[in-house]
C-alpha cells in the first residue's frame, strides 16, 4: 500500500516538524510525522469500518481470496483501537455521584431556531434518556414542548450521518480541512467565502464567526431558515427604525386579540406564553361553591386566524379570516383605537357588531391587553400591532420591548437572496459553507438554490443527516447533536444558557458548528475549550470558575435576560407601511410550518411523524387544508368523519406556474377560498422514517410570497391518497364526554359539569332501605359487594390512592404530554400503515371535539389517560389476571403475564389500552417493513431503564408513571416518611406547559389533586358506568363577550360567518 506518490515525503518536512517539538513526542512513522493529508487518508483507510465497500461481483477469484485472507488476519487485530486519551476515569471504585441504575440529571438547553429552551436531561449510565423542562429557565419554567423532547430521538436517529463524505465517497475531516484551508489561502482575504447559517444567538459562535470574518474580511455571513421572523424584523425596523424583540406578558393580559398569531405553539417563547396564558384562564377558586357563587375573573381572548390552530381553539371568540385580510382588520382596529393608520374597510367576514364590541372590550382593559400578530403576517401588520399596543397603553405592561436576541438580526430571505444574486451576477461565491439548515429543500424555489451549489467551486454542508443540501454539496460534514457538543444560546427573552453535552458524539466524525468555524482558522478544537475560553474572556473575574460551575449547574445564567427598553415608535409608520394587495382571484395559498415536523427538520423523527396533528389528528402526512364549503365549491367532497383510513382526493394546485399535487382535507373552521399547506413534508433525501411522507409545500414557496399568495388554481386529478388519522370522528354525539360552558353559566351553576352522565349514579332510596349498605358508602348498584378498596390498613400505614386531575380549561392540545409519555414509557412508533389500521400506541391521547357549525365550530381538547377505574371493567375479564388492582388503586398491567386476548381492551369504555400487534419495540420501524426487521442498537440507548419494553402480543397502557411513584416511594421510605404532595410528577404532568395535569394522592384531602377534584367543575368521564375513574376532569370554560353573544343566533357563542 503505497502512499500517494504524487507528493513524496522529504526529509525537510520531517526535520521541520521535529524542530518545532519539545518534550516527549512519539511518532510511529515518518508518514505520521509528516502529518500530511495523504498520511491521514492512508490512516483512515486502515480503519476497517470506514473502508469503502468492495464490488464483490466484479472481483476476480484471486483478489477475493486475498481480501478474505487479509480480513481474517486483520480480524485478530480488531482489539487494537485507540481509546480517547482524554478524561478516562477507570471506575475501579464507583464514585459516589455515579450509582448504576440511579439516573443523573444535567441542566442544558435545546436550541430551536437559534433560541434556547432550558431543559433538564436525565442520563442513565451516560445515555441521555429523557428531556424535561428546566424550572429555572424562563422559556420553559419546567415545562416542555413536543419538539424539544423530540430532539432526543434525533440524537439516536439511526439514519444520522456518521462520516464526512466528499462527492458521495467517504472521506475525513483532515481531508476536508486541508481542502478548505488551501482554498481559503488562495482567496487571501476570503473574498468568495460565504457562510450560511441558520439563526444564531450563540455569543461564542458569533464571536467565532466574527473572528473568521476579521481574518478574512472578504468573506460574508448569511443567515437563512424557513418560516423565520423576517416580517417581525422588518416590522420592527419600520416601526422603531431598528429590530426589536417583543415580549408579551400573558399573565397580566385581561384582553387578548391575536391577529393570526399562533402564540401557543409556534412563536418563540410559546412554552412560557402557554404557561402565562393559562394563569388568566384558570378558574380554580377553591372558595367558590354552589351556595356562594362569586364573581371570578378570566381573560377574554379574541382570535382571528387564517388556519385553525390550537391557539384558536382557546379563543372565546374566533373568526376565520384569510391571511391577506388580516391587515385590513388590523388597520381597522388601529383606526378604531385612534391610530393614524389610513382608511381601511372592515374585511368581509368580520361582522361590524362583533368588531365594535371587541374594540369596546379592548378599551376597557386599561393597559392590560395584548394585540399581537403571527410571524407570517407582513411587516405592516406588525407595525400596526406595535401602534395598537401603544395606543392601548400596553407597552411596558403587557408588551415589552428589548434588544433583539439574534446576534445579527437580518431579513433572512433578503440575506439568502443576496447570496444567490451575488453569485448570479458575477460568480462572486467561490466557497460556500452551509452550517446547518437545508436550503436546497426549504429555500424559496425561485432562488434555485441547488443551482448555486452546483456552480460554486467549493461547497460544504454541515448537518446531522445527509439531506437534500448535502446531496448537492461537494462535502458533507456530520454535525454533532446539541447533546454532544458545547455551545451557548439565548432564550426568547435574551436569557443566556451554556449548552453542555451529555454524551460524547455517538459517531466520531461528528463536530459542532462551533468547532468547524474555529477549525477553519486553526486546529480542530474542542467545543468545551471554545465556550470556556469565550466566557473566561467575557467574565474575567476571580470567581469565574464558581460562576461557570453555577451557570452549568443551573442551566441558565442568572439575570442575563435583556432589560426592557423603550423604543420610540415612528408615528407615521402605521400609515406608511402598507402591503400591496394580493391577487384575489382563485384560491389563496397559505404556507405554514407543520405543527409536528415543523419546517421539515423533524421529518425523520418518528415521534413527530406519528404525533397526531392537534386539529386534523393526521399522522405521517400533510394535506391541503381548506374549509368544507371551499372543498365543495371545488367539486371535492373530502371526508371530515368516517373511517380511520381516509382516501382523500388528490388535487393539483397551480400558482405562478408552479404545481403541487396533494390530497385535500376539510378542516372545520378554516376560512373559505383559502388553502393551507403545512411545510416540512415531501422530502427527498431523508432517512427511513421521513421517506415517502407527505407533499412538499416549499415547491409553491417563492421569495415574492414566502407565506401567502393569491390566485391559486385547483384541479381535481381524480386520484386518491390514503391519509392516516388517529381518529376520525368529530362529534361528541350528544354525549357528556367533555363538559364545557361559559363563565356566566358557571357562576350561575357552578356544578354544571356534574350531569347524570358524568357522575357515579346514586342508588334509589328504596333499594337502600331494602339492602342496607355494607361498605359504608350507602350505595348498592350491583348485586355484588362494591370493591371499595379500603387501602389504609395497619400494615399499610402510608396508603396512597393515586389520582389525576386534568384541567380541560387550560389544556391547549399542544401534544407535549403525548411525546413526554412516549419518551418516558418507551412507547414505540408503529408507522403509517399501522396507524391506518388503528393501532397507534400512545398511552395518552388528546381527544378533540367540535361543536357548532362546521364553518366555525368551537374546538375542545381532552387528554385521555388510563382512568385507573376503581371498578375497572378490564380487570374481571382478563382470564389470566394480567391486569389487576394495586394496593394504591392503580390498575396495573402485568406484561409478563399477558397472553393477549385483548378482552380488556374491548371492555375498556375509554379505549385507552394499546396492544402490541407486532413486535413494535424492536427498534425504530421502517414504515414499510415493520415488525422489528431492523433492530437498531442505537435506538436501544434511548430506552428508559425503569420501564419494561413490551414485546409482541402484549397489552399495555398508561401506568400513571408507576416507575416514578416507586422512585418517590424508595426515597420516602429511606427517609421514613410519607411521599409528599408533588413529589411524584408524571411525565405528562411534568411536560404540560399550562400545568393542566396534576397528579397526587386523592386519599389525602390536602393535596393539590384532591383540592382540584373538590372543585365544582370536576367531573368524570362516563361516570354513569360506575367505573369510578381515578382520572377526573375540570370543565372547560369560555368567557364570551356578552355583547357579541347577544348578537348571535347560533347559540351563545362565536358568531357564525357564512
Amino acid at each position: 500500500m503505497d502512499i500517494n506518490p504524487k507528493r513524496p515525503l522529504d526529509a525537510r518536512t520531517f526535520r521541520a516538524k521535529l524542530e518545532g517539538q519539545s518534550g516527549k513526542q512519539y511518532w510511529r512513522s515518518l508518514e505520521e510525522l509528516a502529518d500530511t493529508p495523504e498520511f491521514r487518508e492512508f490512516l483512515f483507510d486502515e480503519v476497517p469500518q470506514h473502508t469503502r465497500s468492495f464490488d464483490i461481483q466484479g472481483m476476480d477469484r484471486r483478489r477475493f481470496l486475498t481480501l478474505a485472507g487479509a480480513s481474517l488476519a486483520l480480524a485478530g487485530l480488531s482489539g487494537c483501537r485507540w481509546l480517547p486519551a482524554k478524561k478516562v476515569v477507570p471506575a475501579a471504585e464507583q464514585s459516589e455521584d455515579r450509582v448504576i441504575s440511579i439516573a443523573n440529571i444535567y441542566a442544558t438547553s435545546v436550541i430551536e431556531h437559534g433560541l434556547a429552551t432550558g431543559v433538564w436531561v436525565t442520563s442513565n449510565e451516560g445515555r441521555p434518556t429523557r428531556i424535561e423542562g428546566n424550572p429555572e429557565h424562563p422559556a420553559s419554567l419546567g415545562s416542555n414542548s413536543s419538539t424539544v423532547q423530540a430532539t432526543l430521538l434525533d440524537l439516536y436517529d439511526p439514519d444520522r450521518s456518521q462520516t464526512v463524505s466528499n462527492l458521495g465517497s467517504i472521506s475525513n475531516w483532515p481531508a476536508f480541512l486541508e481542502t478548505m484551508r488551501s482554498a481559503l489561502a488562495e482567496t487571501k482575504d476570503g473574498t468568495g467565502l460565504r457562510i450560511l447559517t441558520e439563526t444564531v444567538t450563540s455569543p461564542t459562535l458569533t464571536h467565532q464567526i466574527k473572528a473568521l470574518l476579521a481574518k478574512y474580511p472578504g468573506a460574508k455571513w448569511h443567515q437563512y431558515e424557513p418560516c423565520g421572523r423576517d416580517n417581525v424584523v422588518n416590522g420592527a425596523k419600520a416601526a422603531f427604525g431598528q429590530p426589536v424583540n417583543t415580549l408579551y406578558d400573558f399573565s397580566k393580559a385581561d384582553r387578548i386579540l391575536s391577529l393570526d398569531a399562533d402564540f401557543l405553539l409556534s412563536m418563540p417563547g410559546h412554552i412560557r406564553y402557554s404557561r402565562d396564558f393559562a394563569v388568566k384562564r384558570r378558574v380554580r377558586s377553591e372558595e367558590i361553591s354552589a351556595e356562594q357563587p362569586k364573581k371570578l375573573e378570566m381573560s377574554r381572548f379574541y382570535m382571528v386566524e387564517s388556519c385553525p390552530s390550537i391557539t384558536g381553539t382557546m379563543a372565546d371568540h374566533r373568526l376565520p379570516l384569510r391571511a391577506s385580510q388580516v391587515e385590513a382588520l388590523a388597520r381597522a382596529v388601529a383606526g378604531a383605537l385612534g391610530v393614524d393608520a389610513g382608511a381601511a374597510a372592515l374585511p368581509a367576514g368580520v361582522p361590524q357588531p362583533w368588531f365594535d364590541a371587541m374594540i369596546a372590550d379592548l378599551k376597557t382593559a386599561n393597559g392590560a391587553s395584548i394585540v399581537l400578530t403571527g410571524d407570517h403576517q407582513p411587516p405592516a401588520v406588525h407595525v400596526l400591532c406595535h401602534a395598537i399596543n401603544a395606543a392601548l397603553g400596553n407597552v411596558g405592561k403587557t408588551v415589552n420591548y428589548t434588544d433583539p436576541v439574534e446576534s445579527q438580526p437580518v431579513d433572512q430571505l433578503a440575506s439568502l437572496r443576496q447570496l444567490v444574486d451575488d453569485h448570479k451576477i458575477d460568480g462572486a461565491v467561490k466557497i460556500l459553507l452551509i452550517l446547518g439548515g437545508n436550503p436546497v429543500y426549504n429555500a424559496p424555489v425561485d432562488l434555485e438554490f441547488g443551482h448555486l451549489l452546483d456552480t460554486t467551486r467549493l461547497t460544504a454542508h454541515l448537518s446531522m443527516h445527509e439531506d437534500e443540501t448535502s446531496a448537492r454539496c461537494q462535502w458533507h460534514l456530520p454535525e454533532a447533536h446539541a447533546l454532544e457538543a458545547w455551545s451557548d444560546a439565548r432564550a426568547y427573552d435574551g436569557t443566556l444558557s451554556i449548552v453542555q453535552p451529555l454524551i460524547a458524539p455517538l459517531y466520531e466524525g461528528a463536530h459542532s458548528t462551533l468547532e468547524l468555524v474555529s477549525a477553519l482558522t486553526g486546529p480542530m478544537p474542542n467545543s468545551y475549550d471554545l465556550v470556556y475560553d469565550y466566557w473566561t474572556a467575557q467574565k474575567p473575574a476571580p470567581d469565574f470558575e464558581k460562576w461557570w460551575q453555577k451557570s452549568l449547574h443551573d442551566g441558565v445564567i442568572k439575570n442575563s435576560a435583556f432589560p426592557t427598553k423603550a423604543f420610540p415608535l415612528n408615528p407615521a409608520a402605521a400609515k406608511a407601511t402598507v402591503t400591496p394587495a394580493i391577487d384575489d382571484k382563485g384560491l389563496e395559498l397559505l404556507l405554514l410550518p407543520d405543527p409536528t415536523v415543523r419546517d421539515g427538520r423533524f421529518a425523520n423523527n418518528g415521534w413527530m411523524q406519528e404525533l397526531p396533528k392537534p386539529l386534523t389528528k393526521l399522522t405521517w402526512d400533510n394535506a391541503a387544508l381548506m374549509s368544507q364549503a371551499t372543498a365543495e365549491k371545488l367539486g371535492l367532497a373530502p371526508s371530515i368523519g368516517g373511517l380511520t383510513v381516509a382516501d382523500e382526493k388528490v388535487v393539483e394546485f397551480v400558482i405562478g406556474g408552479r404545481k403541487l399535487k396533494i390530497p385535500v382535507l376539510a378542516l372545520p373552521g378554516h376560512p373559505d377560498d383559502a388553502v393551507t399547506i403545512h411545510l416540512g413534508y415531501g422530502r427527498t433525501h431523508v432517512g427511513k422514517i421521513g421517506t415517502g411522507t407527505g407533499f412538499n409545500g416549499y415547491l409553491l414557496c417563492t421569495t415574492a410570497a414566502p407565506y401567502f399568495a393569491g390566485g391559486m388554481k385547483a384541479t381535481n386529478t381524480g386520484d386518491t391518497y390514503p391519509l392516516a388519522h388517529t381518529r376520525s370522528h368529530h362529534s361528541m354525539e350528544g354525549r357528556d364526554i367533555l363538559m364545557e360552558g361559559t363563565l356566566a353559566e358557571f357562576l350561575l351553576h357552578p356544578e354544571f359539569a356534574k350531569t347524570e352522565a358524568t357522575t357515579t349514579p346514586e342508588i334509589p332510596v328504596d333499594d337502600k332501605q331494602i339492602e342496607p349498605a355494607e361498605s359504608g358508602k350507602g350505595k348498592r348498584l350491583s348485586l355484588y359487594d362494591a370493591q371499595d378498596h379500603e387501602y389504609k390498613t395497619d400494615e399499610n400505614a402510608f396508603a396512597y390512592s393515586w389520582g389525576l386531575s386534568i384541567d380541560n380549561n387550560v389544556c391547549i392540545g399542544c401534544n407535549a404530554c403525548v411525546t413526554a409519555c412516549q419518551n418516558e414509557n418507551n412507547i414505540p412508533i408503529v408507522g403509517k400503515d399501522q396507524v391506518q389500521r388503528g393501532r397507534e400506541m400512545h398511552w395518552i391521547r388528546i381527544d378533540r371535539y367540535y361543536r357548532g357549525p362546521i364553518s366555525n365550530p368551537h374546538t375542545f381538547f381532552e387528554p385521555v389517560t388510563c382512568m385507573h377505574c376503581e371498578n375497572a371493567p378490564c380487570e374481571p375479564v382478563c382470564p389470566v389476571a394480567a391486569t389487576v388492582h394495586s394496593m394504591e388503586g392503580l390498575n396495573q398491567m402485568v406484561y409478563n403475564r399477558c397472553v393477549g386476548t385483548r378482552y380488556c381492551s374491548n371492555n375498556c369504555p375509554y379505549k385507552v389500552r394499546r396492544f402490541n400487534f407486532y413486535k413494535y419495540t424492536a427498534g425504530q420501524p421502517d414504515p414499510d417493513k415493520l415488525n422489528g426487521n431492523n433492530d437498531s442498537l442505537v435506538l436501544q440507548l434511548l430506552s428508559n431503564p425503569d420501564v419494561t419494553v413490551r414485546g409482541r402480543g402484549v397489552m399495555e397502557k398508561c401506568s400513571y408513571c408507576v416507575q416514578r411513584i416507586n422512585h418517590a416511594r424508595t426515597t420516602a421510605k429511606k427517609e421514613g416518611r410519607a411521599i409528599k404532595d408533588g413529589e411524584v410528577v408524571t411525565a405528562c404532568q411534568q411536560s404540560c406547559p399550562t400545568q393542566a395535569i396534576v397528579f397526587g394522592d386523592i386519599a389525602d384531602k390536602t393535596t393539590l389533586v384532591s383540592k382540584l377534584k373538590a372543585l365544582p367543575t370536576d367531573y368524570t368521564m362516563l361516570g354513569e358506568l360506575n367505573t369510578r375513574p381515578r382520572t377526573s376532569y375540570l370543565a372547560r370554560l369560555r368567557n364570551p363577550n356578552p355583547n357579541i353573544e347577544a348578537d348571535v343566533k347560533n347559540g351563545p357563542d362565536t358568531p357564525v360567518v357564512e
Binding site: I737, R902, R914, F915, Y918
Partner: protein, 489 residues
C-alpha cells in the same frame, strides 16, 4: 304421510316411529347394514364428487396451515383487528363453528332423550360434524391471542405448576372449561355410539388389518345382552350429560359478550338467543352436508324427505327465536333509554356496517320464513339454499355482535373501523378446508349412518305393523342384536 299422526303419543310411552323414517319396501336388517358398511368396506362406492370435495378441502387445509404458520411467525397483527375492535373474524369464526356443532349434540342427546327415533339416520354424521366443528372452533381462541404459546396459562394448573391460578371471573376462562368439556363429552358420546358399529365392521370385513383396527375400536363387543344393557345405560348417561351441554356451551360463549359492558354485548337476552342461534346454524350445516351426501351415496331412503322436512321445521323454529331476539334487541335499545344502547342500534341500522345488519336480518329473519311452506321444506334445492343463507346469516350475526359493536362504543374519539385482512379470510376458508377434510375423511373410514340404530328403527317399524320376523334376521346378522324394545320393559 301424515307426520302429525305418527308423532302423536298414543296414551303410553312409545317411541315416535313412522314409516316415513325408512320408506320403501324390502328393507331387511342385512341389507341395511351392508349398504351402510359398504361405504367403509368397499371404497369403490365413493363417487367422483367425494374426491373433488376432499381435494378442495385438502387444498384449503393447507391454506389454513400456511396461515397459522405465518400468524405464529409474524404476530396477530396480520389480522384486521385493532383498537377499538380487538376481536374480529377470529372470534366470529370461533362462535360460528361452536354454534354449528350444536345440532349434533342436540340430535344425539336431546332427541335421544325425547325418543325421537328419526335421529338414527342423521345422528352419526351430525355428531361427527360437532366434533369437527369444535376442532375448527378450538383453533381460534388459541391462536387469536397475542402469545399463543402461553395459552396454557388459562388452564387451572394451579400454584404447583404455574404459581398462579387463572382468573376465574373471566368469561374466557369459563369458555375454556365449557368448550373443553363439550369437546370431551361429544367425543365420548360419539365413540360409545360407534362401538356396536365398529364391531359390525370388524365382523364384516375380510381384510386382516382392518379387522384388527376395527376390533381394537370395538373394545371386544360381542353383542351380548349384557353388552347391550351396559351400552344402553352408558349411552343414556352420556346423553344426560350432553343434553345440558347443548344449553351451557353457547350460553357461556354468549357470556364472553354479555359480561362485557360494550353496548351491543351487555344484554341478558344473549344466552337463550345464542343457544337458539347455535341450533339454528347447526341444523343448517347438517342439511348442507346431509343433502349432498344423501344424493351421492343413494341414501335417500335413509335420510328421507321427512328428515329434511323436520330439520327444516327445527330451523324455522329456532330461526324465529333468533329473529325474536333481534327484535327485542332493538326494543331494549329503545326502551332502556340508554343513549349508548340506542346509538348502537342506530349504528347497526345506518352506521358504516349497515349492510351487514340488514343482510343478517334478511338471511336469518326473512328468507327462512319460506320454510312455513311444506312445499319449500320438501324442495331439496330450496332447503339447501336456505341452509346456506342461514349459515351466512349466523356468521353475519356474530359479525354484527362483535366488530360492529366494538367499532363504535362509548367515546366517539376512539371510534374506528374494522376490515378483515387477507389472513382473516384465509384462516376462515382454511378452517372450512379442515372441516371438509375431517368430514370427508370420516365418510371413508367410519359408517356415516348408525347401522344398528337403523336396524333398530326397521325393527320398530316392522314391530309396529305386526309383521316383525326378528328370528330370521338374527340368523343372518349374528353379530348384531337388534335390541329388545327396552322401552316396553
Amino acid at each position: 304421510m301424515d307426520i302429525e299422526e305418527t308423532t302423536q303419543p298414543d296414551g303410553h310411552q312409545e317411541d315416535l316411529i313412522s314409516d316415513s323414517m325408512l320408506p320403501g319396501k324390502g328393507h331387511d336388517y342385512k341389507n341395511l347394514g351392508d349398504r351402510i358398511a359398504a361405504l367403509v368396506l368397499q371404497q369403490r362406492v365413493h363417487p367422483y364428487a367425494w374426491l373433488v370435495t376432499f381435494g378442495i378441502g385438502f387444498l384449503l387445509l393447507n391454506v389454513m396451515l400456511m396461515s397459522i404458520t405465518y400468524l405464529l411467525y409474524k404476530g396477530i397483527g396480520i389480522f384486521g383487528v385493532n383498537v377499538p375492535a380487538g376481536w374480529g373474524l377470529d372470534i366470529i369464526n370461533f362462535v360460528w363453528w361452536i354454534g354449528i356443532g350444536h345440532a349434533g349434540t342436540l340430535i344425539s342427546a336431546i332427541l335421544l332423550l325425547l325418543k325421537q327415533r328419526w335421529r338414527s339416520s342423521i345422528n352419526r354424521f351430525a355428531e361427527a360434524m360437532t366434533l369437527f366443528a369444535v376442532a375448527c372452533a378450538g383453533i381460534y381462541p388459541l391462536l387469536h391471542t397475542g402469545r399463543p404459546w402461553n395459552a396454557y396459562w388459562l388452564l387451572p394448573l394451579g400454584p404447583n405448576i404455574l404459581g398462579l391460578w387463572p382468573q376465574f371471573r373471566s368469561p374466557l376462562l369459563w369458555d375454556v372449561f365449557a368448550v373443553s368439556t363439550y369437546a370431551t363429552v361429544s367425543a365420548l358420546f360419539w365413540y360409545v355410539g360407534l362401538i356396536p358399529d365398529l364391531a359390525m365392521l370388524r365382523d364384516k370385513t375380510t381384510s386382516k388389518p382392518l379387522k384388527v383396527i376395527f376390533g381394537l375400536g370395538a373394545l371386544g363387543w360381542r353383542g351380548a345382552s349384557r353388552h347391550w344393557a351396559r351400552y344402553e345405560t352408558a349411552y343414556m348417561v352420556l346423553a344426560g350429560i350432553s343434553a345440558p351441554l347443548v344449553l351451557s356451551v353457547h350460553t357461556i360463549v354468549s357470556f364472553d359478550f354479555a359480561v362485557g359492558i360494550v353496548p351491543g354485548w351487555h344484554t341478558t337476552i344473549f344466552p337463550p338467543y345464542f343457544v337458539a342461534g347455535a341450533v339454528y346454524a347447526g341444523f343448517a350445516m347438517v342439511l348442507t352436508v346431509g343433502i349432498p351426501i344423501r344424493a351421492w351415496y343413494g341414501l335417500k331412503d335413509m335420510i328421507t324427505m321427512t328428515h329434511i322436512d323436520w330439520m327444516a321445521k327445527i330451523m324455522l323454529t329456532t330461526g324465529l327465536i333468533v329473529f325474536y331476539g333481534y327484535i327485542l334487541e332493538i326494543f331494549f335499545g329503545w326502551y332502556s333509554g340508554d343513549k349508548y344502547e340506542w346509538a348502537m342500534i342506530l349504528n347497526r341500522f345506518r352506521g358504516p356496517y349497515w349492510l351487514t345488519y340488514w343482510a343478517l336480518l334478511t338471511c336469518n329473519g326473512i328468507i327462512p320464513q319460506l320454510l312455513w311452506s311444506a312445499k319449500v321444506r320438501r324442495n331439496l334445492v330450496a332447503v339447501f339454499l336456505i341452509s346456506q343463507t342461514v349459515s351466512i346469516g349466523m356468521w353475519l350475526e356474530r359479525f354484527v355482535i362483535i366488530p360492529v359493536s366494538l367499532h363504535r362504543d362509548y367515546i366517539p374519539s376512539s371510534w374506528g373501523y374494522y376490515t378483515p385482512s387477507f389472513w382473516d379470510w384465509s384462516m376462515f376458508i382454511g378452517t372450512m378446508g379442515f372441516f371438509i377434510v375431517l368430514m370427508f375423511g370420516f365418510m371413508r373410514v367410519l359408517p356415516i349412518i348408525n347401522m344398528f340404530e337403523m336396524k333398530e328403527l326397521l325393527f320398530g317399524i316392522k314391530h309396529k305393523h305386526g309383521n316383525d320376523v326378528p328370528d330370521r334376521d338374527r340368523t343372518h346378522t349374528i353379530e348384531v342384536t337388534p335390541p329388545v324394545d327396552e322401552h316396553h320393559d
